[in-house]
């Protein structure tokens, strides 16, 4: 290729794309733009441009390997078309048979942020011990220090694996739910209306 008018250093983007491929194939978790830039010894803007090239090469229906933006970084995975073959050889990552209790617990930890078992039990109305143990074992939640206010109960947060398994770029991708405040106000008004009817 001949680029006589180019003033930017002559390191072609193609070469950087190759470096990124190498980094992504050895990494054990998604890599952020900053991590890629630091390892590649290049600047973040160029890394973003090169990632676009990698993404074109490793896309669904074009390759068995697909580049995805997940859990705050970039990672390779198998293409969806090859899921059946993968399922014959590998465990589905940490997601089989999540019980309703586990899903509710996971939802609370994801939405509320770091919270303790008593916090979770308060919302669910039943003890959350076995669901928490199960999610810890699957690596979907992790300890996040102790709650110094509430007698040092251990608090939990979701892990990057959670985001990865659920295909989320970040927790901010979780949909907004109906506002608890509004819901609670509505129910409270109804209770009050009932009380008034009675005293009338």
């Amino acid at each position: 290729m001949d680029r006589p008018l180019r003033l930017i250093p002559a390191d072609p983007l193609d070469q950087l794309a190759r470096t990124l491929e190498a980094l992504l194939v050895v990494a054990s978790a998604p890599l952020s733009i900053e991590e890629l830039a630091a390892a590649a010894g290049d600047d973040p803007e160029r890394v973003e441009d090169a990632l676009r090239l990698v993404g074109e090469r490793f896309a669904e229906e074009r390759s068995g390997i697909v580049l995805e933006h997940v859990a705050g970084g970039w990672a390779f995975r198998a293409s969806r078309e090859e899921a059946a073959a993968c399922a014959r050889l590998f465990e589905r990552p940490a997601q089989r048979n999540l019980s309703q209790a586990a899903l509710e617990t996971l939802a609370i930890v994801a939405y509320v942020g770091p919270c303790s078992r008593p916090d979770i039990a308060r919302i669910r109305g039943v003890a959350a011990d076995s669901a928490v143990a199960n999610l810890l074992e699957r690596g979907l939640i992790a300890e996040a220090g102790r709650d110094t206010a509430a007698g040092g109960a251990i608090r939990y947060r979701t892990t990057p694996l959670f985001e990865r398994v659920f295909g989320l770029e970040s927790l901010s991708e979780l949909p907004r739910l109906g506002d608890v405040g509004e819901d609670a106000a509505g129910i409270r008004d109804r209770l009050h209306a009932v009380a008034e009817k009675r005293s009338a």
């Binding site: 990494a27 309703q100 509710e104 939405y111 308060r122 919302i123 109305g125 039943v126 040092g152 819901d183």
Partner: protein, 256 residues
């Protein structure tokens, strides 16, 4: 077993439990018209079809039915409101409303996660390190021994005395009441349900009531009630008089 998918066939309502809950919350269905005992019986029938006691479903069901009972009781018994909760009515209504709303939101979020998981189940990725990746030991940075002392002090900190009223609802196991009622009927041929549970909290009463229904289903006792809201009289059945001690309901064994 998914409690909210429990199919109901009541006079006032036909459909899944989930929908009933939604209609009640939207005030499109008056709880005073809903036969809550019918819901309990439907649940117990589903439970009985299973080989094993589904504790998770029981817990979830108890929470939901207790909340409904409380709402219904408020609508039905205006004068007993003070007895219904140690909290003042304002606080109780506030707390109950907040709890129901919060729980409903958690369920909504869990439903979203379930759907998401189903949609993303065909994304396979490597969970461990790459097979031929360079292995580098990352040494630990120097640590401060004060961090150890701090961690230990936190572990030695007394837990605060927390009022259980805003902690998790605690349900005593149904099996406790199964045993208690069996014992009662061994000593007496009949007893009055209300009298027996009068001293208990509402949640314990809910568990006791489930135990009562379970024992009736198993034919271990008979229940009579002269009229709606009249005292519930519990008595030994004939077969129970004959072979009182031989029976061991499988349910109890499993739930022990």
């Amino acid at each position: 077993m998914i409690v909210r998918e429990l199919e109901l066939d009541l006079d006032a309502f036909e459909g899944p439990f989930d929908l009933l809950l939604a209609l009640v919350l939207k005030e499109e269905l008056d709880l005073r018209d809903v036969d809550l005992a019918g819901i309990v019986i439907a649940f117990l029938e589903r439970l009985a079809e299973k080989e094993e006691l589904d504790l998770e479903a029981c817990g979830e069901f108890l929470v939901l039915i207790a909340a409904l009972l409380e709402l219904k009781a408020r609508a039905l018994f205006p004068d007993e409101e003070a007895e219904l909760a140690e909290l003042d009515p304002e606080e109780a209504a506030e707390e109950l409303a907040r709890r129901l709303a919060e729980y409903r939101r958690a369920k909504e979020a869990a439903g979203w996660l379930r759907d998401r998981l189903a949609g993303e189940g065909d994304r396979f990725f490597r969970l461990g390190p790459a097979p031929l990746a360079p292995r580098v030991e990352t040494p630990l940075a120097p640590q401060d021994p004060e961090a150890l002392a701090g961690a230990l002090r936190l572990l030695a900190q007394d837990p605060p005395d927390v009022s259980l009223s805003h902690m998790a609802l605690r349900f005593p196991p149904v099996s406790l009441f199964l045993e208690r009622f069996r014992g009662l009927l061994r000593r007496r041929s009949r007893f009055d349900f209300e009298t027996e549970v009068a001293e208990l909290t509402r949640l314990e009463q809910a568990s006791a009531f489930l135990a009562l229904l379970e024992l009736r289903r198993a034919g271990e006792l008979a229940i009579e009630q002269a009229a709606p809201f009249a005292p519930i009289r519990v008595s030994r059945t004939q077969q129970e008089n004959n072979a009182q001690s031989e029976r061991t309901a499988a349910w109890t064994v499993r739930s022990a």
